[in-house]
Symmetry: C2
Subunit: 405 residues, 2 copies
């Protein structure tokens, strides 16, 4: 069993880094807050006698040695970065429960056959740098490193520059090594487990995602002198598109998701008819065919804006296929749940996770715990200590049984 009070206090300490007045956290990837959080994680790891190596994407690999270094290790990992005005558990809960698992094995002087590697993956959220899961994507061979290092934030700073700025461009190559099994423990970020009073979600699949950047070009005009009918207003065109995107989501219920989270208006002045809107669009669904239909509908909607005298350009920047997790990995977690006397149910993740990418190169699965009202990507994100403890125990036994093989 893990040490629940220690885990809780570790989580609380970490929540200070980037903490917001409303009790959430803003710890954007490769920001100063991320640097401080990474340093703290590394110090905790070294204090406990583990090693910590960093690869060229800034991914951190904390390793507890087993008997046979030559055997592929067991991996667990998640991310330290957060959304702007995000919550205290998304990602960091998986990292710090991983640390708690390693500490617990130390406390009990458990010797494993295989090494256990705890990973902090860089830029999981996709908030500062799009797309999400960028560095686990590179590590697992989904993106080239060159592409990833050149991704820029809204201020034009690239991933490469940001890695250098916080001193986390490491020397290990960002390339997968053989992994025996990989587990990620995460909050559900949805309401199902809490609603049904179930302790543990055994995640068997994850939805696919497609992300787009849309640029709508109209023509800047004076708000006072330009009659309504002679405007080429990028903002009202954007508004029409936003409602069509929402409608695309509604057309593919219950599983479809369609979201515009980001928009930037030019010149963004009260008395100027906007010349340009750049926005994000993202779709999610468990089936690739539906994602394809959603994309087609988006492209049609964007073309239709030409009746407003504006030009819309649709660029797909992320195509994240639906994935299915490994049965053998899930079986270990299911066994752990039973042994611990917890309740569980199989689930599909609506969120993307680093371990989805890891599942492309190694057997992998995920474990969910409830989170209050399903609130996530929000400062109000919350979990209860008993939920936290149960999840960590399932992670401990899943990882341990794989590491003893």
């Amino acid at each position: 069993r893990i040490d629940a009070p220690r885990l809780w206090s570790t989580l609380s300490m970490m929540a200070q880094i980037g903490g917001t007045p409303a009790g959430g956290v803003t710890r954007l990837a490769l920001s100063e807050e991320d640097r401080i959080a990474r340093n703290l994680l590394r110090d905790w790891a070294l204090e406990a006698g583990f090693t910590c190596d960093v690869d060229s994407m800034g991914n951190m690999f904390i390793r507890r040695a087993g008997k046979h270094r030559a055997l592929p290790p067991v991996m667990t990992g998640s991310h330290v970065d957060s959304q702007p005005l995000g919550g205290n558990y998304d990602g960091i809960y998986g990292v710090l429960t991983g640390l708690e698992v390693l500490r617990t094995l130390n406390d009990n002087s458990v010797e494993t056959e295989r090494d256990i590697v705890l990973v902090n993956w860089t830029n999981e959220e996709g908030a500062r740098f799009a797309p999400a899961m960028l560095a686990s994507g590179v590590w697992s061979g989904q993106f080239s490193e060159e592409y990833a290092l050149a991704r820029a934030d809204n201020a034009g700073v690239t991933v490469g520059e940001a890695l250098d700025a916080i001193g986390y461009r490491g020397t290990l190559p960002a390339r997968a090594f053989p992994v025996h099994a990989c587990y990620e423990l995460h909050i559900e970020q949805g309401p199902i487990l809490e609603d049904e009073a179930i302790d543990i979600g055994l995640v068997r699949a994850a939805m696919g995602q497609r992300w787009f950047t849309l640029t709508i070009d109209g023509f800047a005009a004076h708000a006072g002198t330009t009659p309504m009918h002679s405007r080429r207003d990028a903002l009202t065109a954007f508004a029409e598109l936003a409602l069509m995107v929402e409608e695309i989501g509604y057309q593919h219920q219950p599983d479809g998701r369609a979201t515009i989270g980001m928009a930037q208006i030019t010149p963004n002045s009260r008395n100027v008819v906007p010349s340009r809107v750049v926005c994000s669009v993202e779709f999610r669904h468990p089936q690739s065919e539906v994602l394809e239909a959603m994309e087609i509908a988006l492209r049609e909607a964007a073309e239709g804006l030409s009746t407003r005298g504006v030009m819309a350009n649709v660029e797909r920047i992320f195509d994240y296929a639906p994935i299915v997790f490994d049965d053998a990995c899930l079986a270990r977690s299911e066994k752990a749940v039973k042994a611990l006397g917890y309740s569980s149910k199989p689930m599909v993740s609506g969120a993307g996770h680093d371990t989805c990418y890891i599942s492309k190169i190694a057997p992998a699965s995920m474990i969910f715990i409830p989170c209050e009202k399903g609130i996530s990507h929000n400062e109000a994100e919350n979990i209860l200590p008993e939920w936290s403890e149960k999840g960590a125990n399932v992670l401990l036994h899943s990882v341990l049984s794989a590491a003893l093989e």
Copy 2:
């Protein structure tokens, strides 16, 4: 007659300050670019032997002495500030033609009965600090100075701080003195004069304006895990509102204008359902009753958003009544047009101008020249040298005839 090549080269020199790659200008009120432009204007004035005083709102008063200092002076003025990615003529054309008028009077050793005062009014555009015409509003008693100095830009910098930062918080009180007549020469910012091949617009009235700040509060949620029907999405609510605002404009054709120029999304991350949108709304119309109806429709639209689970707050930040200019002032300009052999027509301004506020405390009117395709608040804003020259000659004779009275 004014010196047309000198006027054109003065305009060109000024266009360098804040010049953009696309040939426009970004010279936001009280920015570094504004400071440099103000210094240049002051240097030109002092070189020509005029005085230059600055009031506590940063308004600059350049004075050419007449015979009788005790008589109320004739005033002409406009503004040096621009929109972000704005044009080379909006405002600055009125200031530099005013300078050209004073220089021409020097060249011809004309002695006037009254002083002539050329004013650069601070923050006419309302782009960096809302509302527009802020400092002519204070000077003419429409806003308190305390209110105006506390207006903040999007970064939280107040007008008072920005005045200090560029060294333009002057010592004159920002309070009207008696004025015999006031003229402002400006580009039309609309297409009528060019379309009808008319040299000069004699502006007899200006539309009223109402500006609002809307805050739409929803609830941040995960874009992947939050089903469409359980979202409280501030952005899609904003989109619905934007189309309703546009519709309000269409309902009051041909004169009505309804514009959303500015919007800011929180947290503005691709995979977060937005929690908040803050946006501007502005309406224009020549009749106050119609503006009132537009405002009522806006408030109803905003309330209707509650069906989406969001709360919309509507704050009116600017109520600029329609105004009518002075007949005697217009008559001088009409006489000048005839004497010079130009064509003219009476017009209503869709844009607000500092001289609308001055008209509340002194006889005032405005003179328009064409601008290409009516394009304004756009880097592509353009005028022809012959248009520029004609406008300046009408200003010269309007101001001169008043100053000889």
